[in-house]
């Protein structure tokens, strides 16, 4: 890693990748509002401190590892952010071997010693379970569909475990099939849709069967997004605090690039943003 120039205001660039890097696999910036919001605020936090922030989109996981090798060969960035990082993450292992500082978004039990923002999925799951209880939903249907679903299966599994036997994942998650399942469910039922677009379609399908939302059935989105806040009705969603997590990752990166001690910061806890649909 090249030492950065003393004055942050006057960075020197050459034929090398300095600044802070992030690699994304697939079209997640367009498809996933949670990742998109996180990357946006991370970039703002890093660039406001005078460091360039580069996000690169590649087609597959192998290409991601190739990028780290290429960055290393051409001078290496000041740090790389890995989101989300799992136990024994191959990317973190490679970056560590290449001596490129890493900041990860991960879970408490994973990657000890790696600078990270740490998610508490259990707490998030508790929030969701408590919300559904408070609203008195007896039957909870999960509609795992929609291109914008984030990979949050741990969180989802954990949330569903806390809801006991009341959660049913639907095999057919088309809006019409979900509306039929609502008609057969124990009222009042709640539907957890994969994202806002799916939630909008499901609300329309349920209303077409003569039932009301949220009166007869509540509809929630697994991801919060702009659409949740601006659709009619506005959609109750699991707020994963992506913007704040992005900023925190930025702080963590700046600490690491300034040569500060490694740290693990707890992510703000996800919660339910209660709106009109549930």
């Amino acid at each position: 890693m090249r030492a950065r120039s003393v004055s942050r205001g006057v960075p020197h660039y050459g034929e090398q990748m300095n600044g802070v890097g992030l690699v994304l696999v697939g079209d997640v910036l367009a498809a996933d509002p949670v990742i998109s919001a996180l990357v946006h605020s991370l970039g703002e936090a890093v660039s406001e401190a005078g460091l360039p922030f580069l996000a690169r989109v590649v087609d597959d996981a192998d290409s991601e590892l190739d990028v780290y090798h290429a960055w290393h060969a051409s001078g290496a960035p000041d740090a790389v952010v890995v989101i989300p990082a799992e136990a024994d993450d191959a990317r973190v292992a490679l970056l560590t071997r290449l001596r490129i500082p890493v900041v990860a978004l991960t879970h408490e039990e994973h990657l000890p010693g790696v600078s990270a923002v740490v998610l508490d999925d259990d707490a998030a799951a508790d929030e969701l379970a408590a919300f559904l209880d408070r609203r008195g939903y007896r039957d909870v249907l999960y509609a795992p569909d929609g291109a914008g679903a984030s990979d949050a299966s741990d969180l989802r599994d954990s949330a569903f475990a806390r809801l006991g036997g009341r959660v049913r994942a639907l095999d057919d998650a088309t809006p019409q099939a979900v509306a039929r399942a609502v008609a057969e469910a124990v009222a009042p039922a709640a539907v957890v849709a994969a994202d806002a677009t799916a939630a909008v379609a499901i609300i329309a399908a349920i209303r077409e069967t003569g039932r009301s939302v949220p009166g007869d059935a509540g509809v929630l989105s697994w991801n919060d997004s702009l659409l949740c806040r601006t659709s009619d009705p506005t959609i109750t969603a699991l707020d994963r605090r992506a913007t704040e997590i992005g900023r925190l990752l930025g702080e963590c990166v700046l600490r690491v690039t300034a040569g500060g001690e490694l740290g693990r910061l707890p992510a703000p806890r996800a919660g339910v943003a209660a709106r009109e649909s549930a």
Binding site: Y13, G19, D27, H40, L54
Partner: protein
């Protein structure tokens, strides 16, 4: 849609023809040479020659065979998306955002760096040259495969000189962004205001039909309005359509730096919201507002965030601004008979939903055409970098379809 205009515009120049055929291949997905003959109206011999040149340049690849219509099965052609790239750059007070797309318009990378702030234009352009190096190195893109740079920035375009006329950025006035950047980067540069870029970005990214006209209202430090008609950007006599920031909303209102009075910018821009916020007792201390010119955007974000969380005084400040923006939007809708308006830009990042509500109420309740058709007002996701992506689209468009060049004499 676009194909009709392409065919009409195919001129005698071989460069233009080549660009038009490349655009036909792009918009068709996969296409055979015979289909290109039908779509373009050119002779089979011309198409064969042009396609050969495009394949040799690596821009187009043969991907397989189509169904036979009697004789030999036709070879299908498609764009080779990773053969060329375009860079879009959004010049903004708070951040510089670079978006790189491939020939097919797909985002392959984005770089965010410190904003222009109070930095001298020459210094910013010098920095941009370095950041381009960093960007291309980090994405492993050869400079020779970059077709050009699109630049989105606020302000007027005075022929070859880009003027960024605003209250506290006099140094940007008459500074030739396009020429300076073209000289320092060695790449073709096209410049457009950020609202127009955001509108083009919306058109490409949103896969909108070319038959649908719309406007994009852009708010950063000031306002702009990009208008798309029949799939292309409305330009006006000097490529300066959409100066909505200087729409007069109060004839006896506060004097504006542009020479007029009561302009939208004076009544509703972030700078006005912050000066009003500084007059609310205790608010600056509570939210940590500095009120300094250099911190306008930062302060405005703080007020917007507080408003989004229901802070009464901040909601009132944002609604005060939104009411003027709504009236301006209503006038645009009435003037152009639009059925769709997008709100885009960093100014809507925090309090966008409040602006959206106020604008929807005004337009829904008062548009002259409200009994004839709905007028949709949609908030663009600010994380999508509409201006930078749109600027890359412009650079791409210019190289793919030279007839559509954003030309100025």
């Amino acid at each position: 849609m676009a194909q009709v205009s392409v065919v009409k515009q195919i001129g005698p120049s071989s460069e233009k023809t080549r660009g038009a055929i490349l655009d036909l291949i792009r918009s068709s997905g996969t296409v055979s040479r015979n289909e290109l003959v039908e779509l373009s109206g050119l002779t089979g011999a011309s198409i064969t020659r042009i396609v050969k040149a495009l394949i040799e340049a690596g821009l187009v690849i043969e991907t397989g065979y189509g169904d036979s219509t009697g004789g030999k099965r036709p070879t299908l052609l498609e764009l080779n998306p990773r053969s060329r790239y375009a860079v879009g750059l959004s010049l903004d007070d708070a951040h510089l955002t670079y978006a790189v797309t491939d020939l097919g318009g797909r985002l392959v990378g984005r770089l965010v760096t410190r904003g222009t702030g109070q930095e001298a234009p020459g210094a910013v352009i010098e920095r941009v040259a370095g950041e381009l190096e960093l960007l291309l190195a980090g994405l492993q893109i050869d400079r020779a495969s970059v077709v050009g740079i699109g630049v989105a920035g606020a302000g007027l375009d005075i022929r070859s000189r880009a003027e960024r006329a605003s209250l506290n950025a006099e140094e940007w006035e008459n500074f030739a962004v396009r020429d300076a950047l073209a000289a320092s980067s060695g790449l073709p540069v096209v410049r457009e205001n950020d609202a127009a870029c955001a509108a083009i970005g919306q058109f490409w990214v949103g896969r909108l039909s070319a038959s649908q006209d719309f406007a994009t209202l852009y708010m950063a430090t000031g306002f702009g309005c990009g208008i798309v008609e029949h799939g292309s950007l409305a330009r006006g006599a000097s490529s300066n359509v959409g100066e909505i920031g200087h729409m007069v909303l109060e004839v006896d209102g506060p004097p504006c730096w542009c020479g007029s009075r009561g302009c939208l910018e004076m009544l509703a821009a972030p700078r006005r919201v912050i000066s009003d916020a500084m007059a609310v007792e205790g608010l600056a201390a509570e939210l940590g507002l500095s009120g300094a010119e250099a911190d306008v955007r930062h302060d405005f974000s703080a007020v917007g965030r507080a408003a989004a969380q229901g802070h009464t005084a901040c909601v009132a400040l944002i609604e005060g601004s939104a009411r003027y923006v709504a009236q301006a939007t209503l006038s645009v809708v009435n003037l152009l008979d639009l059925d769709r308006v997008y709100l885009a830009g960093p100014g809507f990042a925090e309090a966008g939903p409040i602006y959206l509500r106020v604008i929807r109420d005004a337009v829904g309740g008062l548009a002259r055409v409200r009994d004839i058709h709905r007028v949709e007002v949609v908030l663009s996701d600010p994380a999508r970098d509409a201006a930078a992506v749109g600027a890359a689209s412009l650079a791409l468009q210019q190289s793919l379809t030279p007839h559509a060049r954003v030309g100025r004499s």
